[in-house]
Symmetry: C2
Subunit: 456 residues, 2 copies
Amino acid sequence: MAERLIVVGGDAAGMAAASQARRRRSRDDLEIIAFERGHFTSYSACGIPYWISGLVTDREQLVARSPATHREEFAIDVRLRHEVVGIDLVRREVVAQDLDGGGEVRERFDTLMYAAGAIPKKPDWARGDIAGVFGVQTLDDGSALRAWLDADPQPRRAIVVGGGYIGVEMAEALVRRGMSVTLVERDEQPMSTVDPDMARLVTEAMHGLGVTIRTGVRVTGLSEHDGRVSEVVTDDGPIPTDLVVLGLGVAPNTALADAAGLPLGPTGGIRVDRRMRVTGMPGVWAAGDCVETLHRVSGMPVHVPLGTHANKQGRVAGINIGGGYATFAGVIGTAVTKVCDLEVGRTGLRERDAEAAGFEFVSVIAESTNRAGYYPGARPMTVKLIAERPSGRLLGAQIVGWTEAAKRIDTLAVALWNNMTVDEMTALDLGYAPPYAPVWDPVLVAARKAVDALAR
Amino acid sequence: MAERLIVVGGDAAGMAAASQARRRRSRDDLEIIAFERGHFTSYSACGIPYWISGLVTDREQLVARSPATHREEFAIDVRLRHEVVGIDLVRREVVAQDLDGGGEVRERFDTLMYAAGAIPKKPDWARGDIAGVFGVQTLDDGSALRAWLDADPQPRRAIVVGGGYIGVEMAEALVRRGMSVTLVERDEQPMSTVDPDMARLVTEAMHGLGVTIRTGVRVTGLSEHDGRVSEVVTDDGPIPTDLVVLGLGVAPNTALADAAGLPLGPTGGIRVDRRMRVTGMPGVWAAGDCVETLHRVSGMPVHVPLGTHANKQGRVAGINIGGGYATFAGVIGTAVTKVCDLEVGRTGLRERDAEAAGFEFVSVIAESTNRAGYYPGARPMTVKLIAERPSGRLLGAQIVGWTEAAKRIDTLAVALWNNMTVDEMTALDLGYAPPYAPVWDPVLVAARKAVDALAR
């Protein structure tokens, strides 16, 4: 009899693992069943804001691989709308509810791949069942929001609570749809994924876009009218609205894992080893937004829910399940986002992270341009570097600019990955031509400035 | 009496050295005289094609620092239109001709900075004094070409000989001005700065731009009419034209250095040590397009005339002349260019370079997109990687794409700089968001493909 792999969660991590395992082991050798509570597999959750805004016209475009593809090309028994509700590690079986057909199924496994993803953080005030309150974590969430936006009468006002990546992207998406949008942020400014001096540039861009930003405001409740949300109640008074988007971040979806006895780490994510094996649990693997991972710079466990890590981790798990050898090397916190025309990139540690990790450091901000100053379309570009003192080792970097800026963070990410010092970085042989960079690339300008700061 | 530094050549390398030396040593301690045979200092030669095309409207925009700035802010005695014609290392003096005023000046030096740049390669057929034949190496060259283009009657037809960076950029510039442009290339295709399989994409783009490309054609002479060029004579027949641009590359401008006894290396460039000191010549420094430098991947000396290196090398020399300590770490051959909307980047070794250096290698070409496939404006992007076998160490990379492609070569350049293997590269934490990359960044897709190729 073939061994059986059961995959809990049919998105990036789970299906990457399943397809990698299949590449190495035939269906006669390994049977694969994947349970997914939603209607989709392997889709781009990061693309949801662009579908909401209308930039992406068709939901199906966000689906990288359909269930049919998984079934036909990879011989994976994908069971949509089946939510796993119990895992028994002793009997080696899972119990899943058929959300549409009703009833339960029970399946044994030899190997378990836990990839249940993340769930939007819901404070107490959002836990009721008032209509018009949306997370944007899954494609089903996105579908529900789209339906609400297209309903009659059309909502005109939106409140986004929380100004992280998803909050900022959703605020822009809703403004693009012509809505009146208010972003409510508890802290002094949104975009705390970068340091405050860099976040200020993002805040200005959002103002320019027409988003109303209410900072230092804490949401305490919701009011409803006929079962639909009508107001967000805050410590600074109520704000009327026709819908609420939760942009408070996500937490690892681990209730089921925890109940089954899988170990959780300090971040709340499942603890895995370098091969994505759940620590101390033979035959049990986990990957994606539900696990915690090593931050290579701080040396600490972190929870970084991001499709690119989910895919890489799922692939690593799948190679190992398939009998190969692969490890996940950890993350350095690289991320990019777009706010209107403003581009934002970050990698490594922010100042507060560097402090928390115990580093001494200098930080510098260098102003430059994306192209040679005389070349048409040259726009300002701001690069911030954080470097350990006295070693000069790069600890973190942030970029804000207007076109061709964000992805330059990759240059800094690879330098950081390789433990380069800012002094070594000044020597880097980077591409130079007037349409692409000044003769001193913005990255080099910043590195030189950091070297000067270290010498002081 | 103050020591005296004499700088031969007032462009990027020479003036970077002079200003760095000045930062560290006051005018009472170090007198600095810079001789420049042209009319300008510290300008962007790389910007000339964009001034020719009209994209850059004003020649002065290309000047990073005027002679007045050098004189007033840096107390550098800049002498324009003075060509150094003799260097006497024993008597420690230079002889310069005043090209406008006539006569010679003779100045002693304690320290010499040789930064005479490069000169366009001129085959025998181009050595006459037929009007209408142009190099585009200096701003004075550019000015002469602009004057020719604006003369009455306006030239309508142009021939660019040689399809390297400057040839390709000039062909585009002249097409943008509405001219009928023929590019004559001796080899099978232009853009031999990348491998033929990647160069083909560039050739197609140039066809699309309306450039006539004549490959496998060797120029043997020029015909003239009333002292003006009227035809380029080739082994495939004559081609009528109103002007000729030489895009055959440049050679280190070392006649003067050679005569003075400065050592030249196998590339024809001046030999310098890591601090940019001319090998075996106390108190004599050189930097920029006239020197040869270490290629970090091949380990061989190379001549890479490029503003970014000239600036870095000049800065290194100046820091050392000023009493500080700095070294130039060598190059890895990173370069980017733009052909219409097509973007081209390269770093490290091409296949032919890897062969010449004695490496065994695999090479792979991966097709991907610059953005998530569903995001508006997603365009194809081709990444080629060359990796040593069996180690997997990255040896070279090339990118061709349509928007937001070329500068991604920096990501690969930093990986190459740090001796990463393609296997290590698959783990890199690069920025991901739908407007900037698919969930597997094109760089990662290529690295994975290279890993697969190495396993075969």
